[in-house]
């Protein structure tokens, strides 16, 4: 007689969350290669096996684009990797990017049920694994789907999208899947927006971005670079040329400076300039590439978000002996992802917390010293974080060659200033309805950082996705 095995009594072997292999900090702080190396197939299967396949999963709701997380992980468990990718792609056109830069710890992984008693399933790492696996195998040169093919299928209306960052790419791919003829207009010479100019190579390799964008193109989306809407074509021109709706996803492309003395000295950069030179223009390869960047010995980065972490880690890789991250609050209040803060610390970034610059002192037109003041935390402000207050008489100087201001980015006024009747907030962001992205102008939608202020890649993608649904409804029904 065989003993009936009661499966409920078998305790599942508790598998710890599979670690992500990484380059050694002292090695990686001297190169621009990707820091995280990605799971192997074995790692991925092991991690996927931790997923409880909950009857009522919370993770899907935690995802701004509602990926069927339970579904794709099940497919990984079954070694059906291509199907897993297709499952993700039903909801997310940029999985290799999201798997890398999403703050999963604040989203899907935060609400993972396994995470209640154990470490949550490494959902982001699994998404990345599946996406990378396909990119590795895919033949080079995905062709842009010929418009004639699309018109054979269903010649639907023309939609214009301004900005080829995550918001614009997502909106474009969703509309293309519905059969619309989409053209994305990009101001820079390369598409991707913050994915190419803002996030460094070692966090998001540009080859990955290029291939993800190729996928978007393969859906039939046309991307035109070197097109600054507001200059080469106005919004009215787009409607005159037959576009039936416009989605504005121009991002947070205005650098903020503190307004302290000395900010225009040589050697002071906005994070936008510093990162654009390094990431987009490849200044870290100078003189192989022509765009220069100042490689200071002692660099001060002012700020506490992901952009500040990126700037500091770029400075280290450019050869700085000391990189100081100056932030006016304490580490708990830092908006940067914990993973980025940890990586920065491991790479030797020196944190000067509860400090803020008051003056940049120059010598012969160049940065020489930064005068800072110590801060203490007072009562919470509008953001809910404790307000930093200067401690009188606590000024101190640090000798610095390069300063990078990474204190935030605002809405670039170039487009909005050419559309005077477009309603803006007092911060000059575009006023748009939360889910639909509708602005006050008929047929004009907006989403992403241009509406919310600087936020994340995935939130912009979520906005692009929901705006696409709203645009589709507007075109089909004619109701505004």
């Amino acid at each position: 007689m065989t003993k009936r095995i009661d499966k409920r009594n078998i305790k599942k072997e508790k598998i710890p969350r599979v670690a992500m292999p990484e380059q050694d900090p002292e090695k990686r702080n001297k190169n621009f290669n990707e820091v995280t190396l990605g799971y192997t197939e074995e790692d991925a299967l092991r991690e996927a096996s931790r997923c409880l396949q909950c009857k009522n999963p919370e993770c899907i709701e935690g995802c701004p684009v509602e990926i069927d997380i339970k579904g794709f992980i099940k497919l990984i468990q079954e070694k059906k990797f291509n199907e897993a990718l297709e499952k993700i792609r039903e909801r997310n056109s940029l999985p290799a990017i999201c798997g890398r830069v999403c703050p999963q710890e604040d989203q899907c992984e935060k609400v993972c049920i396994l995470g209640i008693k154990d470490d949550p399933v490494a959902i982001g790492r699994l998404e990345r694994y599946v996406a990378d696996r396909e990119l590795k195998r895919k033949a080079e040169g995905v062709k842009e789907c010929a418009w004639s093919e699309i018109t054979k299928q269903c010649a639907r209306e023309k939609i214009a999208i301004i900005g080829s960052g995550p918001g614009g790419l997502t909106c474009g791919s969703e509309l293309a899947k519905l059969g619309y003829r989409v053209t994305i207009f990009e101001a820079l010479h390369k598409s991707g927006g913050v994915l190419v100019y803002g996030i460094p190579e070692f966090r998001l390799p540009k080859e990955i971005v290029r291939r993800e964008i190729d996928y978007v193109r393969s859906l039939g989306v046309k991307i035109e670079v070197n097109m600054v809407i507001g200059k080469i074509l106005t919004l009215d021109d787009l409607f005159s040329e037959g576009f039936k709706a416009v989605f504005i996803a121009t991002g947070a492309g205005l650098p903020y400076f503190m307004g302290i003395p000395g900010e225009n000295l040589n050697g002071v950069y906005s994070a936008n300039e510093y990162l654009t030179r390094s990431n987009l223009m490849k200044a870290y390869k100078f003189p192989r590439c022509d765009t220069p960047i100042i490689r200071g010995d002692k660099v001060a980065v002012v700020g506490g978000g992901n952009v500040a972490m990126d700037s500091a880690r770029v400075a280290k890789r450019l050869g700085a002996k000391h990189v100081y991250l100056i932030y006016r609050r304490s580490e708990e209040e830092m908006p940067a992802r914990n993973e980025e803060i940890e990586h920065a610390r491991e790479e030797g970034i020196e944190f000067k917390l509860l400090a803020s610059p008051v003056e940049i002192i120059g010598k012969d037109g160049w940065v020489h010293k930064v005068r800072c003041i110590k801060m203490k935390l007072g009562e919470p402000d509008d953001s809910g974080r404790r307000r930093p207050l200067p401690v009188e008489g606590s000024e101190f100087d640090i000798e610095i060659d390069v300063v990078v201001m990474a204190i935030g980015q605002g809405p670039n006024p170039l487009l909005t200033s050419t559309v005077p009747h477009l309603n803006l907030t007092r911060w000059r962001n575009i006023k748009a309805e939360a889910v639909t992205g509708k602005t006050n102008i008929k047929g004009v939608f907006a989403g992403g950082d241009i509406v919310t202020g600087a936020a994340t890649v995935i939130l912009a993608m979520g906005a692009g996705k929901s705006a696409a649904a709203a645009i589709d409804e507007y075109i089909r029904t004619g109701i505004w």
Partner: protein
């Protein structure tokens, strides 16, 4: 990809390129600029739009060979392509009937001054032009400026043609001669606007000359740029004590409000890099020193 449909050598080291760029040609206005990138490893540089033909979709740019990128550009021929050209960027020149205006162009600055002088003339201004170069052989667009100006004065640093001296020196003498002394004479000759384009030092000198005469003087600034759309701040200058971006607030500003010392200092930010790049390029191309 933007095709070079025609290339003209204006003088030694200064070329004019005609590019096929129909959308830019359709919208371009005098005073605006484009940002170009020659190839995949290249940097982005701003160049003023020297001309535009809305019907045939061609724009022209004038470039002086000074460093790696402009040297690379000058080596291109008709039929070659420039990888990226974006524009028209910046604010257009203010073109109004001001009355009697003086247009001052120094060196390669005569190229952007020309379309502005032409527009000012078209709208009814009396146009007095002062153009200069280091020597007779380096003077550009003399015929074009002659055709478009009511009065044209030529200057050369070495005296090989026209007035021996800088354009700013000539301007000072001209203003003193025509605007001082007899009140009636002054009234007829009153200058209501001056616009000057050329090397930063020249524009600074012009500003100094015109200040005591209280004549509104506009200059077009040539700071270092990366994107040209206001997203990075590389081109920031101080105007009237406030920080402005040349690419979106300019490129033209009231000369008397500009901190020229800061502009000149910031222009030197990458001198070492520029030299390194140029040395490598010369070595590669075996260019003569």
């Amino acid at each position: 990809m933007y095709k070079i449909v025609k290339k003209e050598k204006l003088v030694e080291d200064i070329d004019r390129f005609y590019l096929k760029a129909p959308l830019i040609a359709r919208k371009a206005k005098a005073g605006q600029f484009v940002v170009i990138r020659i190839n995949e490893d290249g940097e982005r540089i701003p160049l003023t739009i020297a001309g535009y033909n809305r019907s045939n979709g061609i724009i022209s740019i004038v470039s002086m060979r000074v460093g790696k990128t402009t040297s690379l550009l000058s080596s291109l021929r008709e039929g070659d392509n420039i990888l990226d050209v974006v524009g028209p960027l910046g604010n257009a020149s203010e073109i109004e009937n001001f009355g009697r205006v003086i247009c001052v162009g120094g060196g390669v600055g005569v190229a952007p001054i020309f379309p502005i002088a032409r527009e000012l003339k078209k709208i009814g201004n009396y146009v007095i032009s002062i153009i200069g170069a280091r020597s007779k052989d380096l003077l550009i667009l003399k015929e074009e400026m002659e055709d478009t100006s009511d009065e044209l004065y030529i200057c050369s640093d070495d005296g090989s043609i026209g007035y021996h001296g800088f354009v700013s020196d000539f301007l000072k003498e001209y203003l003193e001669k025509n605007l001082t002394g007899n009140a009636d004479k002054k009234k007829d000759k009153r200058i209501t606007r001056i616009i000057a384009i050329g090397p930063a030092l020249m524009m600074a000198s012009v500003a100094e000359v015109t200040k005591p005469f209280n004549i509104k003087t506009i200059v077009s600034l040539n700071s270092i740029m990366v994107d040209g759309t206001g997203m990075c701040g590389a081109c920031r200058v101080e105007v009237g004590g406030k920080t402005k971006f040349v690419c979106v607030n300019g490129p033209e500003f009231d000369a008397h409000q500009i901190n020229f010392e800061l502009l000149l200092s910031r222009q030197k930010t990458y001198c070492d890099h520029e030299k390194e790049c140029m040395d490598l390029y010369k070595h590669k191309c075996r260019l003569p020193e």
